[in-house]
C-alpha cells in the first residue's frame, strides 16, 4: 500500500517546547524542541535518533499528553492533541525512559491495575499480561515484587505495561536500554511481530545505530531540538557518499603523509584522531589498492587498515559534523 493511502498516526507541524528558567533570566530558557515536523504512518516502525539532550524524550512526552507544547500542532491517530488529549490517550501506549513500576508492588498486580486504568477487566488484563510476560521471557515474575527484579527484567516489565492494552500506536523511549544482547534481539523480534500481527505503529527513541538499522523502516534524526535528517536507514546511508577507510599509522610523519593522500583522494576532508586517519571515498573496494600503493611509493606502511560501509553514526557525522557519541 502506498504511504499516502495509509492513515497518518503522528503528524506534527512546528512542535516546540521551551523550558522556562527559574526567575527572569530569559536567556537561560532551554529550547528543548525547536519546531519539529513529523509524519508517521500506520504500521510503520519509526526510530527517533539523537544524542543525549537532543529533545527526544521531550518530544515523546508532548505527543503522549504529558507535557504541553509551547507551540505548533500535533495530530495523534487523527485527534488534535491540544483539543482532545483524553481521546489521544485512548489510542496510545507510552513506555518512559525511566521506569514505571513501584518497587513495593508485585509485578502481576501492577500489570492488572495498569490494565484496569486502560479500561480492561481484571481477567483480560491478567490474560494479556501473562502472555506478554511470556513473549518477553519474563514468565515467573508475576508474583515477584518489582523492587527485586533485575534491571533488565524490570525494563521488560515496563514494556509489557505499555503494551498491555494493545494500543494502535506505541511510544517507546529507549526501550532496550539495560537489556542484554539476547533480550534486545528478542524485543526487536517482538516489536516486529506487533506490527505484522496487530498492525501496531511504533515510534521509538534510541542511541543505537544497529537498533535503528535492524528494526526501523524510517528514522528521524534530531539534534539540538531540530530534525536534521529523515529517511529509511538505507536512504540515509546512501546519502553519505561512499565508504569509509580508516588507516592507523605508525608515527606522526606517516600520519601527515596519509592525511595529504586523503585530501587528494577522498571526497571529504579526512579526519585525524591521534594516528588514525579516516578517509571518505566513493567506493572502498577500488580506492583501497590505490591508497596502499600510493603509500608504498613513499615507503610508508599503515599498521592497520579498515574499510567500513557507512553506519548511521557516519550519517549523523555528515549531517551535524559531530559524532553521535560526543
Amino acid at each position: 500500500m502506498a504511504r499516502s493511502e495509509k492513515q497518518n498516526m503522528i503528524r506534527t507541524r512546528g512542535l516546540k517546547r521551551t523550558f522556562k528558567a527559574r526567575g527572569r533570566a530569559r536567556e537561560k530558557d532551554v529550547e528543548a524542541v525547536k519546531g519539529v515536523d513529523l509524519d508517521v504512518f500506520q504500521g510503520e516502525i519509526v526510530g527517533f535518533l539523537g544524542p543525549n539532550g537532543a529533545g527526544k524524550s521531550t518530544t515523546l512526552k508532548m505527543l503522549c499528553t504529558l507535557l504541553e507544547p509551547s507551540g505548533g500542532t500535533a495530530t495523534i491517530v487523527g485527534t488534535d492533541l491540544s483539543k482532545n488529549p483524553d481521546e489521544v490517550k485512548r489510542h496510545i501506549g507510552y513506555i518512559s525512559q525511566s521506569g514505571s513500576t513501584s518497587s513495593a508492588a508485585r509485578a502481576g498486580d501492577e500489570l492488572i491495575w495498569h490494565g484496569e486504568l486502560h479500561g480492561l477487566s481484571r481477567t483480560e488484563a491478567r490474560k494479556k499480561g501473562k502472555s506478554l510476560l511470556k513473549a518477553l521471557d519474563l514468565e515467573g515474575v508475576w508474583e515477584q515484587t518489582c523492587g527485586t527484579l533485575s534491571g533488565g527484567q524490570r525494563r521488560r516489565l515496563d514494556i509489557v505495561m505499555g503494551l498491555i492494552h494493545e494500543p494502535e500506536l506505541v511510544f517507546m523511549d529507549e526501550p532496550t536500554t539495560g537489556l542484554d544482547p539476547q533480550a534486545r534481539t528478542n524485543l526487536w523480534g517482538h516489536i516486529g511481530r506487533l506490527r505484522d500481527e496487530l498492525g501496531t505503529t511504533v515510534f521509538l527513541t534510541t542511541h543505537y545505530m544497529d537498533e535503528a538499522d535492524a528494526l526501523c523502516d524510517r528514522v528521524f534524526i534530531i539534534d539540538h531540538g531540530e530534525i536534521v535528517g529523515e529517511g529509511s536507514p538505507k536512504e540515509l546511508k546512501k546519502a553519505v557518499s561512499g565508504d569509509t577507510i580508516r588507516l592507523t599509522m605508525r608515527n606522526g610523519a606517516d600520519t601527515r603523509a596519509a592525511m595529504e593522500l586523503g585530501s587528494s583522494l577522498g571526497t571529504a576532508t579526512p579526519v585525524q584522531v591521534g594516528n588514525v586517519v579516516t578517509i571518505q571515498v566513493p567506493e572502498g573496494a577500488s580506492a583501497l589498492p590505490e591508497i596502499i600503493s600510493a603509500l608504498n611509493k613513499k615507503n610508508i606502511e599503515a599498521i592497520g587498515i579498515e574499510m567500513a560501509q557507512p553506519t548511521l553514526n557516519d550519517v549523523f557525522l555528515s549531517l551535524t559534523g559531530r559524532s553521535l557519541r560526543d
Binding site: T65, L66, L67, E68, K89, G99, T101, L117
Partner: protein
C-alpha cells in the same frame, strides 16, 4: 462519572494493597495510637485537676485531641509517598492512561482516609481500656470529622509533593504548617488554659474549632453549635484541599 469512580477505585485498591503489604507500616499504625495513650494519658489525669480545664473527664478531653492529631499528622506526610512514586515513574505512567487525573489523587486520598479512620478506631478502642466511655453514635460522628481532616491534609500533602518533587523540601514545609496548626488548636492542652491573646489568636485556626467539635461530641452534645461549626469548617477545608490537590495533578504537564 462512572469512569471517575472506576479509576478512583483502581487507584485506591492499588494504594491499599501496597500499604497492607508493608509490615512496618501496619505495626506502626496499630501501636502508635496505643503508645500515645499510654505515655501521655497518665500525665493528663493530673492536669485535668487544674481550674479552667474543660468539662468532662480527662479522657473525654484528651482522646478527641489525639484523634485530630492523628488525622492531621497521619495525613500530612503522605506526600513523601507520591514523591517516591513520581521518581519511579508511576505517576507519569498513570497520567498517560485514559484515567482521570483527579482520580489518581483521590484514590490515594481515599486509602489514607480508610487507614487513618481505622487507626482512630483502634485509638478509641484503646481509650476504652483506660476508662473512656462514649456511645457508638458519638464514635461514628467523631470519626467522620477525623476522616474529613485526613482527606484534607492528604490532598494538601500530595499537592505539595507533586509541586516540590523533593523530600528535602517537603519535610520543612510540612513542619512549618502542621506544627503551628497543632499547637494553636488546643489538641494536647485545651486553649481555655491559654492566656487571652493566645486564645484570640487560636480562634482564627479552623482546626481549633474542629477539636472543639470532637470534644463536644464526646461530651454527648452532638446537636450543639460547636459541632455544627467544627464539622462545617472541616467540610470546607476538604473542598479547598481537594481543589488544590486536583489542580496540582492537572498542572503536571505545564
Amino acid at each position: 462519572m462512572k469512569q471517575y469512580v472506576h479509576d478512583t477505585m483502581v487507584v485506591f485498591r492499588r494504594a491499599m494493597t501496597i500499604a497492607l503489604r508493608n509490615p512496618v507500616w501496619i505495626f506502626v499504625s496499630i501501636f502508635q495510637p496505643i503508645l500515645y495513650l499510654t505515655l501521655f494519658g497518665p500525665l493528663l489525669e493530673r492536669v485535668a485537676q487544674v481550674p479552667g480545664f474543660p468539662p468532662g473527664d480527662a479522657w473525654l478531653v484528651f482522646v478527641p485531641g489525639l484523634l485530630v492529631q492523628l488525622g492531621i499528622f497521619g495525613a500530612s506526610f503522605v506526600g513523601f509517598g507520591i514523591v517516591a512514586e513520581w521518581r519511579e515513574g508511576v505517576i507519569e505512567r498513570m497520567m498517560a492512561t485514559p484515567a482521570r487525573r483527579t482520580a489518581l489523587i483521590t484514590g490515594r486520598v481515599l486509602r489514607d482516609v480508610v487507614m487513618i479512620t481505622a487507626q482512630g478506631l483502634i485509638l478509641i478502642g484503646a481509650g476504652f481500656l483506660f476508662g473512656l466511655r462514649v456511645s457508638a453514635l458519638e464514635i461514628v460522628a467523631t470519626l467522620g470529622i477525623i476522616a474529613l481532616l485526613a482527606a484534607a491534609f492528604s490532598y494538601l500533602s500530595y499537592a505539595a509533593g507533586l509541586m516540590l518533587k523533593s523530600e528535602d523540601a517537603l519535610a520543612p514545609l510540612i513542619n512549618m504548617f502542621a506544627l503551628p496548626i497543632l499547637l494553636l488548636s488546643g489538641i494536647l492542652l485545651p486553649m481555655a488554659l491559654a492566656p487571652r491573646w493566645l486564645q484570640i489568636f487560636s480562634d482564627f485556626n479552623p482546626i481549633k474549632h474542629v477539636v472543639d467539635a470532637t470534644r463536644a461530641i464526646f461530651r454527648g452534645e452532638i446537636m450543639s453549635y460547636d459541632v455544627m461549626l467544627g464539622s462545617g469548617l472541616a467540610l470546607l477545608i476538604v473542598f479547598l484541599a481537594a481543589f488544590v490537590g486536583n489542580l496540582a495533578i492537572k498542572n503536571q504537564s505545564e
